[in-house]
């Protein structure tokens, strides 16, 4: 190869390596921040019902920090090269999506849409070709939330909240119906969707236990009307 060609190749390669290093540093921050979010949300399993809103509120500033990471990364990615680099942060992005989805659920007991998650994480429309929240990442975040919810249903009962599993059950069934509509490849999402079935089964078992012990009977009447759960 003549030396001009070689220099060009070297320049291209150096560029790539530099960019990769820079993204890596930001992703490492992003990762730490999403771990904080997950750590905080993990407290749900020992939080009494009445303290749930306070817990949700406490996580919001952490999500804001995640959106700083998102913005920093997006600032680095060249136009049209989203898919070239996204493998580096998709793990963290899914964790952040989980955080946004769960906080929203804790506050509203509704599902935050993909656009909603994008907005919480500060992903801008004009980044269309460099940083977006793909359906796949959103769905991974959603499954993580359901995983957490099946554990929550169990612990809520331990903490004396017999309504929670029922509300979770109704919500999760809708999510499951949604997932059933997808045609998945034999990939990670498919595997995780299969795991979702076990979460639903677990939740159903808790509902079964609780219903048959008629523990949920008395407080039910007032609780139902307020619950914004879809049906």
């Amino acid at each position: 190869m003549d030396s001009g060609d070689l220099e060009q190749l070297n320049a291209l390669l150096d560029n790539e390596i530099d960019l990769k290093e820079k993204i890596k540093d930001f992703v490492s921050d992003f990762d730490k921040r999403t771990r904080r979010v997950q750590g905080a949300l993990n407290k749900i399993h020992s939080t009494p019902s009445e303290d749930v809103p306070r817990l949700a509120r406490s996580v919001k500033p952490m999500l804001d920090e995640c959106s700083l990471s998102v913005s920093a990364i997006a600032g680095l990615v060249p136009e049209f090269e989203y898919w070239r680099w996204s493998g580096m942060w998709s793990f963290s992005l899914r964790a952040a999506a989980f955080g946004a989805l769960f906080v929203h659920y804790l506050e509203t007991e509704t599902l935050l849409s993909l656009e909603g998650v994008s907005s919480v994480l500060g992903i801008k429309d004009e980044w269309k070709h460099k940083f977006t929240l793909q359906a796949e990442d959103y769905l991974h975040g959603l499954i993580t939330m359901v995983n957490e919810m099946s554990r929550w249903a169990v612990n809520a009962v331990t903490l004396g909240d017999y309504e929670r599993p029922i509300r979770i059950s109704i919500f999760v069934k809708s999510i499951f119906a949604g997932f059933s509509a997808l045609n998945l490849k034999n990939d990670g999402l498919r595997r995780r969707f299969d795991s979702l079935k076990y979460d639903i089964k677990k939740i159903e078992e808790v509902v079964y236990d609780v219903s048959l012990r008629r523990l949920a009977n008395s407080p039910k009447k007032e609780g139902v009307d307020e619950s914004p759960a879809p049906r």
Binding site: D2, L63, A135, L139, L184
Partner: protein
């Protein structure tokens, strides 16, 4: 700030009914299906490109050897028209893929197009070497992928370029082994072995950064050794009789042809 506005947005973005959830997922389904179908089309085209490129490579071997046989002395002005026509046909496949790979789609489906792209690069770099005796540059490959208006048919990643041209050394080894027992073969063999040695040195710097490249470098080393050994065999024979290749070749030819 983000959290304040977040509160408002969140309400807009809530999906509050079972039907709305199902509706959202149906959109996901069509998005996912769309992209999967696209990838499938790209995979198929990539296979077509691979097969056709392989055939171009065989054709180039035929033309190159025929060129040597016709005239080992003249300066290799073999005509590669037929191969160029076939490469143009391959570019039609790229052309048909153009819109499937535009904007961010290229990097989305890069792994699907990559095998075909690399084989195509192997073919054009072989042609380039046969015509110019040099390695085709990154821009050279890029330019081969432009339509009549200079519009790029398909983006080219650095990795594909490096992996594609790495494969060239294997073909050059085959070419050298065949050429070496022909008239002027010794010169050809030395040219090729110098060239391949240069390729190996040039690419060594890249191999820690490009996946699979070090594996290909290992193949290049083997090819290089084969060429060197063939050149050695010729040199050893010739050394017994003297150094003038052409004269010796004439004598041998007379013997054989009577």
């Amino acid at each position: 700030m983000a959290s304040e506005s977040g509160a408002h947005i969140a309400n807009d973005k809530s999906i509050t009914s079972h039907a709305a959830i199902l509706h959202a997922f149906e959109e996901f389904r069509s998005d996912l299906d769309l992209e999967n179908d696209r990838r499938e089309r790209i995979v198929k085209s990539s296979r077509d490109i691979t097969i056709n490129s392989k055939r171009v490579i065989f054709l180039l071997h035929r033309l190159a050897i025929a060129g040597i046989d016709d005239d080992g002395v003249k300066d290799d002005r073999t005509d590669y028209v037929e191969a160029k026509k076939k490469l143009a046909e391959i570019r039609v496949i790229f052309k048909n893929l153009q819109h499937e790979l535009e904007a961010e789609r290229f990097w989305h489906h890069q792994s699907a197009i990559s095998p075909g792209m690399q084989e195509y690069i192997e073919a054009v770099s072989f042609l380039h070497y046969l015509e110019k005796g040099k390695m085709i540059s990154y821009d050279g490959v890029l330019n081969s992928l432009r339509d009549e208006n200079g519009v790029l048919l398909c983006p080219l990643s650095l990795d594909d370029y490096l992996l594609g041209v790495s494969d060239l050394t294997g073909e050059l080894m085959r070419f050298a082994i065949t050429a070496i027992s022909r008239r002027g073969g010794r010169r050809k063999a030395r040219e090729v072995s110098d060239f391949v040695r240069g390729c190996k040195a040039d690419f060594d710097g890249f191999s820690p950064y490009v996946k699979q490249l070090s594996k290909k470098q290992a193949v290049t080393s083997q090819s290089l050794q084969k060429i060197e050994e063939a050149a050695y065999a010729i040199a050893v024979r010739a050394s017994e009789y003297g150094e003038n290749d052409a004269m010796l070749a004439d004598i041998v030819e007379q013997c054989v042809m009577g």
